[in-house]
């Protein structure tokens, strides 16, 4: 099974109006997805809580198997819609939005 990227985007936007949502398909098969979400609602929340919100938005489509794997990258943005990319945020949530999340592997440590 798979899912349209636009549907994923809409599900997240329904939960997080005003967010910037980028959805990408890691395998070309529509079931291993990465999302980058910048939302004003994330302000003041920890990473775990931000991820909970995003995952809750698409939970139904993970439960039904449409989405097999989902990488999530979250970032708070201010109410004016600036994502703050490149700015040094104060607090714990000022990470750059870089997607490097796919189900890829590196060699295991050999120790």
């Amino acid at each position: 099974m798979a899912i349209e990227l636009d549907e994923v985007r809409e599900l997240i936007l329904t939960k997080l109006p005003g967010a910037e949502v980028e959805v990408s398909d890691d395998t070309g098969q529509g079931d291993h997805l990465s999302v980058v979400v910048r939302a004003p609602q994330f302000a003041g929340l920890g990473r775990v809580e931000q991820h909970r919100i995003v995952k809750a938005a698409v939970q139904e489509r993970m439960d039904d198997g449409s989405i097999h794997a989902l990488s999530v990258k979250t970032e708070a943005m201010d109410a004016e819609g600036a994502s703050g990319g490149g700015d040094a945020h104060t607090g714990a949530e000022g990470s750059e939005a870089v997607t490097s999340e796919i189900d890829a592997q590196s060699p295991p440590e050999e120790d």
């Binding site: 993970m62 794997a69 999530v72 490097s100 999340e101 796919i102 592997q105």
Partner: protein, 131 residues
């Protein structure tokens, strides 16, 4: 509803292990790329951790961790009884040095995320997928 006995057991495991990873497969043989990434990160930090293979009881454990931590995907890393997050959060915190700080270990000098380009390493088998 999660099985109360299982839920108690999971809570006990979280409480009793300073660093605990719920993962698909084992540290020696991870069966999911996300779980493998967290194993590699913990190994590179040189920390001891308990690892629970969730595959033999995937759905019951999903229910249990959903109730305990409101988190239903694996891997899940717990440190000092608190949910740190899944592979994406662990990667971010590793890259920023927050994870080393939390675990009270030295940040390795070559602390690049395990898969900086997201490219499979040639010669590696693809991750096994549990459908």
């Amino acid at each position: 509803m999660a099985d109360p006995a299982l839920r108690d057991k999971v809570e006990e495991l979280i409480r009793d292990h300073p660093v605990l990873l719920f993962m698909k497969g084992t540290p020696e043989a991870p069966r999911c790329g996300f779980s493998m990434r967290v194993v590699q990160t913990l190994d590179s930090l040189g920390v001891e951790y308990g690892a629970i293979d969730v595959l033999p009881a995937l759905e019951p454990l999903r229910e249990a961790t959903g109730e305990i931590s409101d988190w239903r995907t694996f891997p899940q890393l717990y440190v000092k009884g608190e949910l740190v997050g899944g592979a994406d959060i662990v990667d971010e915190m590793y890259a920023s040095g927050e994870l080393a700080e939390l675990l009270e270990v030295e940040q390795p000098e070559d602390a690049a995320p395990p898969s900086p380009n997201g490219q499979p390493t040639p010669g590696q088998s693809p991750p096994l997928q549990i459908e």
